[in-house]
Symmetry: C2
Subunit: 347 residues, 2 copies
């Protein structure tokens, strides 16, 4: 991996892709400068103790934040408004927590149509209502024409972690099973197809949705649940590489078991994309003890948002922390970190 | 006030100025679509109940968020990094709360020098360390060249409100005194002078600083404290107009009592600005019961960040909720809401 040139280097699109270059920037700059035990947890959102006079052990909060810069702003299945609510609530839910409150900050570009802004804000409001989480505070800034791109929305959510729930990307152990809650790649392929006007748009639809109900339907009922993660930027492949590194294990996937919709597979083939690297905005990965995998699978499938859940692989011992896959044809291949920039501005 | 044209209207710079147009956009769009009792509090940050099994009454959290789009990114006295920490921590502190945790989300423009990004991140880290508040989670997005402006930073903070503290812009009552913690206009005038290369830069310096220590030094000791607010965008004038409206009162200021540094006054005169409308990033307004004003003044002046505190006016009855001022020359004038766009991208 190339060294970052801190003297003459520039920010590149690849620094936002969810892949290796982004990991490196986060590790060498943000994580190193901001260093603290909470940020070091390395999950999508931090678990925070809240010491109160009434409770010697205190409560545990989760806090998660996401900047949304997706282009285009409107797409089949959603828009930047509902996406910005779902994305951040999902990060809280992946910690096994019930989201409580949302904050929203807008950077608007001068000249942006107010009618579009209204549509976006209404979509946020509806997504927040559906999730039962109020948007309690906010901020609005305006930048000159050509210094932004319509609207960027940063949402931040806090939630409360239930007692006894301890999920982390660092908890996976050899033998554990890897599950996904549904088909991979829907969101990313929808956006790219739309951006390139490829004509798949009529059949494709983003999967953007909030996952908290799904998570809360099973999280207390599977004691061997190790980790939940939503495979957004960088898709299933990057998320599993992150978990493999955090837990110090390897992952072995079965390609035939990974649900991918036929239209997504066709669009990916046409675009030269691998659906394993494509962003999802309404799906989760769950890792759990092998003896509870069938129970978890059944619980996921009971819920409409987990209907197409599947067991797609297992955690293995591997000192190199590789993610590998048995292909449909029985071969074996590496599923490496995303190296270049596959899909910029996908969320 | 002109009606917003929701069909053909566009976002204008004035929608971000902190003045009347921004208030209107917030009221008619965000507050109306997101409507809930917490957002309706109308302060810079929302007070949130946290119901825990251990505590029937629960604890109270504060959550505040701010998008920072200041240009230029570096200025005498600070940069977008420390400003983005101070600004949001101050919003929490204005609720009489101790900030606990910070989240940070970055929108980076392709081509932005990594050396500048590092300098900004280091400045954030130092500001967070000085305030004793860790940055616990974050996000990084990259947009194409020409779709952003270097770096935008949205920070969100949560804090815990001490028992018995009940501050709100809705609490001011006729007879109450209005105090400021120091000189007005330093930050905004520094930025504008720098942007216009006016040559005042050698003497001017932003006042960006975190105010939590100052607030926590007096907040439990003045039972008649009604409200704290940091006069950022729109300055003292807008902030007092907001409070007058929230509380259903008027405000009467004494111009001669308002501290303004001579160099700030000169630069304002040269630029045709009124220092009362210019943003501050390290000052607070306090409103308190008349019998406690001298105590509060003494407590403010005891702290290095409140050394130049002053009593600058009082709350009066006024069905029109006007802010008025007795000028240096004994005349009387209205201090209306900022109407146009005075200083874009000041924070």
């Amino acid at each position: 991996m190339a060294r970052i040139d801190w003297q003459n280097g520039k920010v590149e699109m690849v620094h936002g892709s969810g892949g290796r270059a982004m990991q490196q920037l986060i590790r060498e700059l943000f994580a190193s400068e901001f260093k603290n035990e909470f940020l070091d947890q390395g999950n999508d959102g931090a678990i925070l103790p809240l010491h109160l006079p009434c409770s010697p052990d205190g409560a545990r909060l989760v806090m998660a934040t996401d900047a949304h810069v997706i282009a285009p702003l409107f797409f089949p299945g959603g828009d930047i408004g509902c996406l910005s609510v779902h994305g951040t609530l999902n990060d809280v839910a992946m910690n096994g927590a019930a989201p409580l409150y949302l904050a929203a900050a807008f950077v608007l570009e001068e000249g942006f149509p107010l009618a579009d802004l209204k549509r976006i804000v209404q979509s946020m409001a509806q997504a927040a209502r559906e999730a039962g989480v109020p948007i309690v505070t906010g901020d609005t800034k305006v930048v000159e024409r050509g210094k932004g791109d319509g609207v960027f929305i940063t949402t931040t959510a806090i939630g409360a972690v239930s007692e006894g729930v301890e999920l982390s990307g660092a908890n996976a152990r050899p033998g554990d099973k890897v599950l996904v809650s549904g088909s991979m790649g829907d969101h990313g392929v929808t956006i790219l197809s739309l951006r390139e006007s490829l004509g798949f748009e009529s059949e494709l639809q983003s999967d953007t949705q909030s996952l908290q109900e799904l998570v809360l339907s099973f999280v207390g009922r599977v004691p061997g649940l190790r980790c939940l993660r939503d495979p957004t930027r960088g898709g299933l492949a990057n998320t599993l590489n992150e978990i493999a590194q955090q837990s110090g294990v390897g992952v072995h996937l079965q390609e035939a078991a990974i649900p991918v919709k036929p239209v997504v597979a066709s669009a990916c083939e046409f675009l030269g994309l691998d659906p394993l690297y494509v962003a999802n905005e309404g799906k989760l990965i769950a890792i759990c003890a092998p003896e509870e995998a069938d129970t978890l699978l059944a619980l996921l499938r009971e819920h409409p948002k987990g209907r197409d859940a599947a067991i797609v692989g297992e955690i293995i011992e591997d000192p190199h922390h590789f993610v590998q896959m048995t292909t449909r044809f029985g071969g074996r291949r590496m599923v490496d970190w995303l190296n270049g920039e596959q899909l910029p501005r996908i969320c």
